[in-house]
C-alpha cells in the first residue's frame, strides 16, 4: 500500500512577491521554499503511512527548481519523489493542476497494481494562491471521498483491504463554518490538513542518508498519458485577464499616546465616516 503526499514550492511570504503581466507568479529560486502549510501534510502522511504499513510517495508539480519540495519529503522518510516538470504546464489553472496530480497518482497505480494508493494528503492551501481547492479537485478526478481542512486524522488499517466496510478507514475532525464535525471515510480518500495538525519531524541520520541515494523521478505530461492541450494555458478553463499591483497605501499617520490617543482615534474614525456618533 502507498500513501501520497502533495507538496509544492512557493515564494517565501516574507519576500517581495509579484506577478507577471499575464498573472503568473514570478519565481526566483533564492526566495523559493517548501510551502509551509505542506509541513503538517508531510508529517500526517508519514504517520498515516506508518499506521497502514505503507510507503510514502511525494508528488510535486512545477518548474525545474521545484524538485526541492519533493527532496525535502525524501529527507524525512518518503521512499520516492516524483516531480512533474514540463514547459507545457505553465499557466495551468487549479483544474489543470489537479488533473496532472491525479494522473500521476493513477500512473503509480497502473505501473504497480499490487501496491495501491490508500491515501492522498495535502496541506490546506498553498501560500502563493491560497485557493485551497486543489485537494478536492484531485479527489473528484480520482472519484475518491474528500475531507479538507482536517484538524486531526486518525487511521485505522482495519482488515487491510480498501474501499470496503471492514477495510482501512480514516476518522477526521475539522472546523466547519459554524462549529466542528467528525467524519469517517473508507480509504482510498484525499485529505487536506490545517497547519496546526502536527509539526514536521526533524530528519534522522538514516533518512538523510537514504534521501541522498534516492532518485527523484521526473515525469512529463506525455509520461502521464495527458495531451499537452489538457494542461497549462491551453487546458485552462480560467485564465488571468489582467494583473496589476495596487496603488501603495497613503503614508501612515502616527500618534503617540500621551493620554488622549483613544479620543484621537475616534476623531480619525469620525473624519473617515467609519463611525456614527450623532443621531
Amino acid at each position: 500500500m502507498r500513501v501520497v503526499v502533495l507538496v509544492k514550492q512557493v515564494p517565501d511570504i516574507s519576500s517581495d512577491r509579484s506577478l507577471s503581466s499575464d498573472g503568473r507568479l514570478e519565481r526566483t529560486p533564492t526566495t523559493a521554499v517548501l510551502n509551509e502549510l505542506d509541513e503538517g501534510g508531510l508529517e500526517t502522511a508519514l504517520r498515516s503511512a506508518d499506521a497502514l504499513g505503507a510507503s510514502l510517495v511525494a508528488i510535486t508539480m512545477g518548474p525545474e527548481q521545484a524538485s526541492a519540495a519533493a527532496r525535502k519529503a525524501l529527507q524525512v522518510g518518503a521512499a520516492l519523489g516524483i516531480h512533474v516538470c514540463d514547459d507545457a504546464l505553465a499557466g495551468s489553472d487549479v483544474v489543470g493542476t489537479a488533473r496532472v496530480l491525479a494522473a500521476a497518482i493513477r500512473l503509480l497505480e497502473r505501473e504497480d497494481p499490487q501496491d495501491p494508493v490508500a491515501l492522498v494528503v495535502a496541506g490546506m492551501s498553498a501560500l502563493d494562491g491560497l485557493g485551497s481547492v486543489v485537494p478536492a479537485l484531485v479527489a473528484a478526478e480520482l472519484g475518491w471521498p474528500i475531507a479538507s481542512y482536517s484538524a486531526t486524522v486518525a487511521i485505522d488499517a482495519g482488515d487491510g483491504t480498501l474501499a470496503s466496510a471492514g477495510g482501512a478507514h480514516a476518522t477526521i475532525t475539522r472546523a466547519t463554518d459554524h462549529g466542528s464535525e467528525e467524519l469517517r471515510t473508507s480509504l482510498p480518500a484525499v485529505v487536506s490538513v490545517t497547519d496546526t495538525i502536527a509539526a514536521l519531524r526533524v530528519p534522522s541520520f538514516a533518512t538523510m542518508l537514504a534521501a541522498r541515494k534516492a532518485t527523484l523521478r521526473t515525469l512529463t505530461v506525455a509520461d502521464l498519458g495527458l495531451a499537452t492541450d489538457d494542461v497549462g494555458v491551453a487546458g485552462a478553463r480560467a485564465t488571468i485577464a489582467d494583473a496589476r499591483p495596487r496603488p501603495p497605501r497613503p503614508p501612515v499617520q502616527v500618534v503617540t499616546d500621551t493620554g488622549s490617543a483613544g479620543t484621537e482615534l475616534v476623531d480619525f474614525l469620525v473624519a473617515r465616516g467609519l463611525v456614527e456618533v450623532s443621531a
Binding site: 509579484s18 485557493g131 485551497s132 473528484a140 501612515v252 482615534l265
Partner: protein, 288 residues
C-alpha cells in the same frame, strides 16, 4: 444568456439573508439570478450532486457560492462534474461578451487580478455588503452521490456571541499578545463599532479566545472597511489575512512593529488603554 445560480446553505429558514442579498447583488452584475438552497446537514458530495442535477436541468452555466472552507470543497466537486472553470474569492463579477470576469485580490491584497472564464463557471465569491433584497428561494431536492462518500459521525455548533461573523463584518477589531490575556477592551470597541472580534493565531493557540476568531492566512481572510489591530505584531501570516482591509488602524507599544508600516492610522501606546478610551469616547459622544 443563461441564468446565474446563486446557491446558499441552510435550507429556507436557516439562510443568512444579508449575506445572500450581497451574493445576489454581486451575481446580478453578470446576468439574471436565481437563488437555490441546500441543506446544511448534507455532505459536500451530496450538496454537489443536488446542485449538478439542478444546473443540468435548469441549463444554468454559472454557479455562485459564498466563499468559505466548506464551500471550497463544494465548488471543486461541482466544477469537476460540470467541466467548469473555477474562480476563487472574487469580490466582483461582470460579463464581457462571452467571458465571465471575476475580480480578486492576490498576494495579501497587494495585487488586483481579474480572472476570465468562457463556458461553465463556478465562482467562490466574497461580496461586499449590500442592501437586503426580497429573495425567492428554491430548495433543492436531495440527490444521490455516485461512489463512496464521507460519513458524518457528529456535529457541534458554536453558540454565536451575537456579533457579526468575521468573514462578513464591515468592521473588525482584532487583538494579539499585547492584550496580555484580557480581550475585554477588544470586545468593548468591537461592540461600540458594531463589529466582529478577531484574533491572532498565537492567542487562539493559548486559549484566550475561540478558533473562529482567527484572522490570517490559515484563519479567515478578511477585507472589511475598517480593521483595528491591537497588540498585534503583524507577522506575514497575519498580514496576508487582513492587508486588503480598506482602512487599517494599528495600536502597539512598539513603533517599529511591522503592522505599523501598513497602517493608515498608527497609535504608539498600550492597547488596552487606547481601546477602552476609544470605546468610552464613542459612548460619550453618542450620549450627548
Amino acid at each position: 444568456m443563461s441564468t446565474i445560480t446563486v446557491a446558499v446553505v441552510g435550507g429556507i429558514d436557516g439562510i443568512d439573508r444579508a449575506k445572500t442579498s450581497a451574493l445576489v447583488a454581486l451575481a446580478a452584475r453578470a446576468g439574471d439570478v436565481a437563488v437555490v438552497t441546500l441543506e446544511a446537514a448534507w455532505t459536500s458530495a451530496r450538496q454537489a450532486a443536488a446542485l449538478v442535477a439542478h444546473l443540468d436541468a435548469a441549463g444554468s452555466d454559472t454557479l455562485v457560492l459564498a466563499s468559505s472552507h466548506r464551500a471550497k470543497e463544494l465548488a471543486a466537486l461541482v466544477a469537476h462534474a460540470r467541466g467548469a472553470g473555477l474562480v476563487v474569492d472574487a469580490h466582483a463579477l461582470e460579463r464581457e461578451g462571452d467571458r465571465l470576469v471575476g475580480h480578486k485580490r492576490e498576494l495579501g491584497g497587494t495585487w488586483d487580478v481579474s480572472c476570465a472564464v468562457v463556458g461553465p463557471a463556478v465562482v467562490l465569491a466574497k461580496p461586499p455588503p449590500a442592501d437586503e433584497v426580497e429573495l425567492t428561494l428554491v430548495p433543492l431536492p436531495e440527490a444521490d452521490v455516485v461512489g463512496r462518500d464521507v460519513e458524518v459521525l457528529s456535529r457541534t455548533e458554536h453558540a454565536g456571541d451575537g456579533r457579526p461573523a468575521l468573514a462578513d463584518a464591515t468592521v473588525v477589531v482584532a487583538g494579539g499578545r499585547g492584550l496580555e490575556g484580557d480581550l475585554t477592551p477588544v470586545q468593548a470597541l468591537a461592540d461600540a463599532l458594531g463589529g466582529a472580534v478577531g484574533a491572532t493565531r498565537d492567542i487562539v493557540e493559548d486559549g484566550w479566545i475561540g478558533h473562529e476568531t482567527m484572522v490570517g492566512q490559515t484563519g479567515t481572510i478578511i477585507s472589511p472597511r475598517l480593521y483595528i489591530g491591537a497588540g498585534i505584531s503583524g507577522a506575514p501570516h497575519h498580514r496576508l489575512g487582513m492587508q486588503a482591509s480598506e482602512v487599517i488602524v494599528a495600536i502597539n507599544i512598539d513603533a517599529d512593529a511591522p503592522i505599523m508600516e501598513i497602517a493608515d492610522f498608527a497609535v504608539v501606546g498600550s492597547a488596552a488603554d487606547v481601546l477602552l478610551q476609544a470605546a468610552d469616547e464613542i459612548a460619550a459622544r453618542r450620549a450627548r
